[in-house]
Structure formats: C-alpha cells, structure tokens
C-alpha cells in the first residue's frame, strides 16, 4: 500500500486484493493450525474482512489502530507482511512480535498497529491513552479502536468511553458486532436492543453500519474521522458483521444454525465488492482471478518463509522483559547467557 495524500481514496481494486489476502491467509492459517504448525489459540477473521479493510481505507497510514485478539487481518491491513504474520503464528523470530506474542498479540510499530490484545476490553483504555497522547501533543491523528460485541459489558470498556468523552479525545470506537462473544449471542449477553446505544450513555455520537459492505464502512469512517480531525471528539460505530468460522479453531460453532451461516455467506464482503467493481467496469473476471492467485501465492510463500525461519535462541529469553535487559532484574547477563540448556536451568541459575 502506498502512502495516501489527503482527500485521496485508496484504489478499490487494491482493497479487494487486500481482502483476498486476508481471506487466503486465514484459510491457510486454519490448515496449518490443523497440521499443528501453529500452537495456542487461533481466532479467524473470515467473513469480517470488509470491516478493517474499510477502516484502513478511510484513514491515514500514521493514524493509530489497535484491536483485540482476532488481529491477523488488522496487521495485514496495516501492511505487515504476510511473511511476518505467518512467522508469528509459527512462533518464529522473524514474526511481527518475534514469536513472543503469537496469534493474539500481533504488533507492528512501524505501521502504527498497536496490537493484538487478548484480555477482552483491556485494550480499550490503552486506545484512549493513545488518543490522549494525540491531543496532548496537538497532533491531528485519530485512533481507531476495534473490539468485539463481547467487550461492551466489561468495566474497562465503560471506563474508557467515559474518559474519552470527558477529555474529548480523537478516537473511533469500532465495535465489530459478529453477533457472538465466543458462544454467547448478543441477545444473551447484552441488555440493550442495539449495541450502539451504549455510546449514548456517554454522550458519544454513535452510528450503525453494514460490515459486509466495504464501501459503506469506508465512507462512514471517513466521514467520522473528518469530523474528528476538525474538532477532537470520540465517536462510536457499531459494525454489523459475521464470522464464518467458530470463535477459535476448537469451536465447531454449534450454537448457531447452518441456515444463519448460509444467509451471511450469500452476503460475502469479497463477493459483494467484486460484483460492485465488475458492474462498474473496473474489474474483469480474469483480473479477479489473477488477484486471487497472487494472494494464494503470497500466503504459500509466507508458510515457506515461516517454516524455514529460525526461533529466538533461548539465550535471548531475558532480553525482552526489561528494556535494560537482564541486569534490571538483578541478574548478571553473563550468568543467564551461560546456561542455554533450557528455561528451567536458566531460571535456577539466575537466582
């Protein structure tokens, strides 16, 4: 993705290409997870692609974005390479968090992607802090804070919204409402008829948008961000979307019907943007096939890259706890470096 000029819109074919990359990346991640190349938890974004793609298409590259644990797409959308993303899933040193974060903790400082946060709603106050810093420094950036429908009943979410409204901070709270917090439907978790009404309680303007429609998401966020840049304030957007897969790889999603899933699949965000572009004469079938082929190739290459990448050496284990290294913990660096036999040995040695 190239840097955008003010007022310029990102090329829609390029954004469709990004959605394809996200889709193919997630499908391949799912396969590699089943092949036990990926450990821990793995939450897939398939079905929700138009949300983050529409969002990044509406903002500048130096605006801040931060999200929850379903974060692979947010990194890819911020130009983190598929190689670095796949390598992170494989736990490799070449990963976007050096293999120390894993699926739920993708970070990319250079591309202003601030995580990847796995405690539900705990990152919403962080996003408010980032927006606070923008205002403190008198910048015209905006923070986009993504979270799921499960986050809106956590205390951290409510405290964060209140602070953002109180201090009039430049932040868009983007609720990716995919109807389920793990296996609990919004109807069973939330007392409100619609999630956007949460914003009203904090005097924050809120709107609803169709998350399966790239253009609608992009245009709505562009409009909100434009208003925020003119005069700093928080905003709330409920984006109605759907995840095709279970909550995580271990979830068969038996809490919903096949019919419901099929209904949303028919409204697929990629198919929809493709149809719009084709209808307008901006994309041929051949061009689409080529984009898809490229996405698949990029992802396959990423798997190869991840496979052959090195792991972080065990001697480096203590280098990422304190900025000033092992010394900070009262350990002599030579001592912890000496024993590379395993973490247990190091742990004992450093005492």
């Amino acid at each position: 993705m190239t840097a955008m000029q003010p007022g310029e819109q990102r090329d829609e074919v390029e954004m469709l290409s990004l959605m394809l990359l996200i889709r193919r990346f997630e499908e391949r991640a799912s396969q590699q997870y089943q092949a036990q190349k990926i450990g821990g938890f793995c939450h897939l974004y398939i079905g929700q692609e138009a949300v983050v793609t529409g969002a990044v298409a509406a903002v500048r590259d130096d605006d801040y974005i931060i999200t929850a644990y379903r974060d692979h797409a947010h990194a890819l959308a911020r130009s983190t390479s598929a190689n670095a993303c796949m390598a992170e899933l494989f736990g490799k040193a070449t990963g976007c968090s050096r293999g120390l974060g894993g699926s739920m903790h993708f970070f990319d400082r250079n591309n202003h992607m601030y995580g990847g946060h796995a405690i539900v709603a705990a990152h919403v106050p962080l996003a408010v802090g980032m927006a606070f810093a923008i205002k403190y420094r008198g910048e015209d950036r905006v923070t986009l804070c993504f979270f799921g429908d499960g986050a809106i009943n956590q205390g951290a979410f409510h405290e964060a919204l209140n602070l953002a409204a109180l201090y009039k901070l430049p932040i868009v709270f983007i609720c990716e409402n995919n109807l389920f917090a793990m296996g609990t439907s919004v109807k069973r978790s939330t007392s409100l008829k619609q999630i956007v009404d949460r914003a009203e309680g904090y005097d924050i303007p809120g709107e609803i948008v169709d998350g399966m429609n790239f253009r609608e998401v992009r245009d709505k966020i562009a409009e909100i961000v434009d208003s925020i840049r003119k005069e700093s304030h928080p905003a709330f957007l409920e984006v109605r979307t759907y995840r095709y897969r279970g909550h995580s790889m271990s979830d068969p999603a038996s809490y919903r019907t096949k019919e419901e899933l099929e209904k949303y699949r028919l409204d697929d965000p990629i198919t929809r943007l493709r149809a719009q572009l084709t209808r307008e004469g901006k994309l041929t079938n051949e061009q689409f096939d080529l984009l898809d082929k490229r996405a698949k190739e990029t992802v396959l290459a990423a798997v190869k890259f991840a496979e052959k990448s090195p792991q972080l050496p065990i001697e480096k284990l203590f280098d990422y706890t304190y900025v000033d290294g092992a010394v900070a913990a009262g350990v002599s660096p030579a001592k912890s470096g000496e024993s590379a036999a395993g973490t247990a040995a190091i742990s004992e040695e450093r005492r």
């Binding site: 801040y64 931060i66 990963g95 976007c96 968090s97 050096r98 293999g99 120390l100 974060g101 903790h105 970070f107 990319d108 400082r109 601030y114 995580g115 990847g116 946060h117 405690i119 705990a122 990152h123 919403v124 106050p125 962080l126 996003a127 408010v128 802090g129 980032m130 927006a131 606070f132 810093a133 923008i134 403190y136 205390g155 951290a156 405290e159 964060a160 209140n162 602070l163 109180l166 280098d319 990422y320 706890t321 304190y322 900025v323 000033d324 010394v327 900070a328 913990a329 009262g330 005492r351």
Partner: protein
C-alpha cells in the same frame, strides 16, 4: 542539605520531572484541583496547568490503562493511585498490560509509566484499605518495584522511576508522608538508582533487613537493642525489584544473623524471597535460622489493639532479634 518532609520530597521530585520533560504528565484522582488526596501534588496544577496535571474520575482501570496506552506512543505518564489498595481495581492494567507489552511485542513497545501512591497499612483503615502490595507486584516479571522510607530516598527513587524506560511502581509509605529528613537542595540533581539497598545503620551482631514503613521501626528497635549490647545493622532494601543481593549478602557475611521485617503478609511475602536467596548463596555464613517478622496472616482488623497485634511491631522485632542472637 536541608530538612523537608517525605511529602515535600515527592512533590519536588514530581515538579522537577514535569519541568524537565514535556512528555511527563501526572494523572490520578484528586491530583489537580484538590491538590492531592495526601497533598503530594500540592501546587502542581497551578504551576504546570491542566494539560500536565490531570484529574480523573474514580476509574482506576480506565486511567491506569490510559497511562499504559499513552506510554505505548512515547509519553512518560505518572499515574497516581490514591492508595495501592485501589490499584487492585486496575490489576489487569498493571499486571497484564504494562509489563507484558515489551515482551509480547518482541521488544517494540516499552512502557515508561510510573505508578505511584501510598501502599501498606496506615492506621485503622480496615482490610480493604490496608493492602501491602509489594509482594504481588514484585512477583510479576517486567515490573520494577521500589519502597522508599526516607524523604531523600523518596525524591531520588521517584525521579529515577520517571526516567526509567520500564513500568516502575513507587510504593510510598502513607504513615511517613509527614516524616522529616535531610535532602539535597533542589538545584542539586538527586537520582537514586533502583536496585540499590542502603545501610541505614551499621552494626555487627545481626542484620535487620527492612523497607518502607518497617525502616523507622527497625531503627527505633536498633537503639533499644544497643542498650542491651546487641549491635543491629539496618539494611533498607529501598527496591524490592530489582533486589540488591550484594548489599544483603555483604551484611549477612558480616553479622551471620538475619531478621527480615516486612510490611506484607507472611505467605509468599518479600521476606520469603530474600530468605531463599540468602540460604541459597551464603548458607555457610549463617549462624542461626533466619526469622521473618511480617503482618499476621489475617485480613486487617479495624480495632486498634488488634491492628497493632497484626502489624510487625517493636515487641515482635526485638523478640526475633534476640532469638537469632540466642540472647
């Protein structure tokens, strides 16, 4: 040098760091308009204005998280907890977000935040308001924890904490806010490194290892013991993490007898760690088993007499010293 209170020392540290670095700001409940619940931030709003000294609603999780987020993009927030008992509401931010970010991001995001405020039992505040949190927080990799006991240490450690690139907790001692001590004049830069203990009184018969509110207690007891011909060396840890092993071992090698007096609970308390490290490293230097004096293992009662019985106190400390000295 001049004599000032612990409270004034902290106030000077805050003012000097706010003055020095525009990325530093102070945020918390009642820090601005009210001038600080314990008046530690007195006058700072007037001097630095409302963009640098910021009142919050009662939302510890929210504003602690705000501090961590602001640090992710390069600011150096000082977050005040009215007491560390209230930091438990923000435990997730202090434990899950602040120290994990540097690791989880593969070293991309360091969190240069300072969390500060009074910690430990004060006087008849009951169980919810009397927590000594140093052992919880010191057990978390990625956090640094210091516990100043004198005005000079309070100023020097707080200033160092603000400049540290990691999350640092400055656990102040509520009962010591009005205590006085000699501190360098304001035009002399005072920085006390984290992880350096301080021998507050030299002695030869027993090492009394202490920190925070137990330091004045240990010093008082040392004077009493002197009358009974027991010479106690008072080692003030000043920092719980990093822990100054060398200072501890040097003292123990000299006295061969150890009492640890701590303000937290006995089970998995700070003293347990110190004790482990002593026996692991200089077992042969010991002439007697180490004894720990801590709070009793109960939630803090309100009743004054019972509270006194729960706290580490002079009677318990004297008895412990006599026991290790076989006196």
């Amino acid at each position: 040098m001049r004599e000032i209170t612990y409270r004034q020392a902290l106030n000077e540290a805050l003012a000097e760091e706010l003055e020095r670095d525009p990325d530093v700001f102070l945020m918390g409940e009642e820090v601005a308009e009210y001038q600080g619940a314990y008046k530690v931030s007195h006058g700072l709003l007037q001097r630095f204005g409302p963009t640098r000294v910021i009142d919050t609603p009662i939302s510890e999780n929210g504003f602690a998280g705000l501090g961590v987020g602001a640090a992710m993009v390069g600011l150096r927030p000082i977050i005040e907890f009215m007491t560390f008992s209230f930091s438990l509401v923000a435990f997730d931010q202090v434990v899950n977000n602040a120290p994990n970010m540097f690791t989880m991001s593969g070293g991309q995001f360091n969190i240069a935040v300072t969390f500060r405020g009074p910690n430990g039992p004060a006087h008849q505040l009951g169980a919810t308001h009397s927590h000594a949190t140093e052992n919880f927080y010191a057990s978390v990799p990625g956090l640094k924890v210091c516990t100043p006991a004198t005005p000079r240490d309070a100023k020097g450690l707080l200033k160092t904490a603000v400049r540290d690139d990691n999350p640092v907790l400055v656990l102040e001692a509520e009962l010591l806010y009005s205590s006085k001590g000699m501190v360098e004049p304001p035009d002399e830069e005072l920085l006390i490194p984290l992880g350096k203990a301080d021998v507050k009184r030299e002695g030869s018969d027993v090492s009394v290892i202490c920190y925070a509110q137990t330091v004045p207690l240990a010093l008082k007891v040392a004077s009493q013991l002197e009358e009974e011909d027991i010479s106690a060396e008072i080692v003030d840890l000043r920092s719980i993490k990093p822990l100054d092993e060398k200072a501890i071992f040097d003292s123990v090698a000299k006295t061969h007898r150890v009492v640890i007096v701590e303000q937290d609970h006995p089970f998995c308390g700070v003293g347990a760690e110190v004790c482990y490290r002593i026996q692991k490293n200089i077992f042969d230097a010991l002439d007697a088993p180490i004894i720990r004096v801590s709070q009793e293992d109960v939630p803090m009662p309100y009743n004054e007499r019972l509270e006194h019985a729960v706290l580490p106190n002079a009677e318990k400390l004297i008895a412990a010293v006599k026991q290790v000295c076989y006196a």
